[in-house]
Symmetry: C2
């Protein structure tokens, strides 16, 4: 049906193997023959069949990108497109293709990863999240399948390549900033507790409080999904307290957006009544009212670095596990304010 390597061979008057070598630009083929074969390829409009090639060489020149279960909801947070953008850039430069997960729930996602791995659909995987006791990560280490994670692995930290920010430091700095502004009642609104990023950011928050002699209050800690409605719900809860917080460190800009919205519904102003600090520096963080003081974690770079690490790992056998920390930068904007009782 389509034109194959044999057709080219016939036309050029050589053996299929020769054509194959020409494709690979093997030095064993004389420049003369190469020219002839290339001409034949052009004329016939030949293009190699990737499936056949992949089968023969047992690789696919593709990398799988795994977003948290239900890319469906994941894609609603600009974080993922943005890291995807980074990954895509290097994939493109290195001529790798991109396979993205579509899994609806944990189980389906797991199946999908298995399909990718066992089916030889991809040569390596980038995990765009990290949480504790993740079946997928366990599976990958178990299978010794090449992968890198964007975020910090919950376990086997030293044997897994990953790219991350120094989240505890960032969170600590943020919290300190609030404390410096005279706040004492500082709430923490983080992602779900299974995420490593959640515990890291909580850790930083906690350290800051403790170092300043402020006690950590259970009822000031809220954990939920990274989206707007979680932010709203969090505010509802916090404002019900007898002693509501005057400041919050929030783990995600989308959440922060929800927080601002809900504060407004309660007739409270940010930063007048409540100061908030946030994470991610999504472009929306500049356009909220007020613009968010948030940490720029350089999402795009996370994607770039993640992809780079993976591809290095794929190309050089026995590449050691490495860790790359991309630096963060706190963007001070106007969502925080000195506490005035």
């Amino acid at each position: 049906m389509a034109v194959t390597i044999k057709d080219v061979a016939k036309k050029a008057g050589v053996a299929p193997s020769t054509v194959s070598r020409v494709i690979a630009d093997s030095p064993r083929i004389s420049t003369d023959t190469k020219k002839r074969v290339r001409k034949a390829m052009k004329e016939l409009g030949y293009h190699p069949n990737v499936n056949a090639r992949n089968l023969a060489v047992r690789s696919s020149k593709a990398i799988g990108v795994i977003m948290p279960s239900s890319a469906e909801t994941a894609l609603q947070n600009p974080f993922f497109p943005e890291v995807l953008r980074g990954v895509g850039t290097v994939a493109h430069d290195t001529e790798y293709s991109l396979y993205v997960s579509t899994g609806g729930n944990d189980q389906q996602l797991y199946e999908e990863v298995k399909r990718m791995v066992y089916g030889h659909r991809v040569d390596g995987i980038i995990l765009l999240y990290s949480r504790m006791n993740d079946a997928i990560m366990d599976f990958l280490v178990e299978e010794k399948f090449p992968f890198v994670v964007v975020g910090k692995p919950y376990e086997n930290e030293s044997s897994i390549t990953y790219v991350d920010n120094d989240n505890v430091s960032a969170s600590k700095e943020l919290t300190k900033h609030l404390i410096d502004f005279g706040h004492k009642n500082i709430a923490f609104i983080g992602g779900t507790t299974d995420l490593v990023v959640t515990s890291d950011r909580f850790e930083g928050y906690k350290q800051a409080l403790i170092e300043s002699g402020i006690k950590v209050r259970e009822d000031y800690i809220i954990n939920d999904e990274f989206n707007r409605s979680s932010g709203k719900k969090a505010v509802e809860k916090l404002l019900k307290l007898k002693n509501p917080p005057t400041a919050m460190v929030i783990s995600d800009d989308m959440m922060s957006l929800g927080v601002i919205n809900m504060l407004e519904e309660f007739g409270l102003d940010c930063p007048e009544d409540v100061s908030i600090t946030s994470f991610n520096n999504l472009y929306l963080s500049e356009i909220t009212r007020p613009p968010l003081t948030t940490v720029d974690i350089q999402i795009y770079k996370l994607g770039i670095q993640g992809a780079k690490c993976l591809i290095e790992q794929l190309q050089t056998k026995d590449e050691p596990a490495k860790r790359v920390i991309v630096p963060y930068a706190i963007k001070y904007r106007s969502s925080t304010k000195r506490f005035e009782p």
Copy 2:
């Protein structure tokens, strides 16, 4: 190395073909044998090799998603993740995999599409944009390769399956709304002129003006990329006019955001001084100040429908070209106001 169909066959005491039939759940195999074979597969941890399978059946059970050249910038507009989300949902339900483009420029994107098509990487393609004289679209029709476009094809409209909104109608309605509010100096800020969506929306704008006896002014028409800075630049230009517009119909929420920002920099208020209407209903359109009056084009549904059409096309030979128009809904918010000189 990995466990193959032969290993399973041996273990189950049957021929490879039988195993293959069990995988396909062929009715020709007795339930007894099926049970036995399945057990063997389980025990050996067998998983079919997709490449081999694809090679044999000449298909890949994957669909390619093509974003405008440089997914890099494309991904910065939430439109794309959102339609990707829709596509992903049905891909997942139908067990197709998703291949996304990473192309940096037009040429590279074209090469990538060729790789996908010729290399049998994907069975079909979804084009997430439509513009005139697009080499990629031409290529796909030339090759008779299955594809659908999200947007309206520039030519061969009747023979290409596509899903779109009624953009001229939406745009007309928007413009009318502005006119009803007493505006006469209405500018149009659209995407680049090569995009079909741009001309459609311009058409609606024009019709509304003409029907109301308002003349279309050249200097009120601006075309640029769908992003924030284009919006800003547009405002700069428009405000330089001796007779600046009092209202604008803008083709994209990101642009609108830029417009609002720049108006503010000029000390102008929206909607007090300038009314704007927008397109897409990205979630950000609710959080801008003011919230945007924008048309909800149901991006997610566009993705769903696009993917559905493609998969139908793939599964049933000779599926006729179809057109699906996803209904839009104008979200009236507060970025427009009655004109008061």
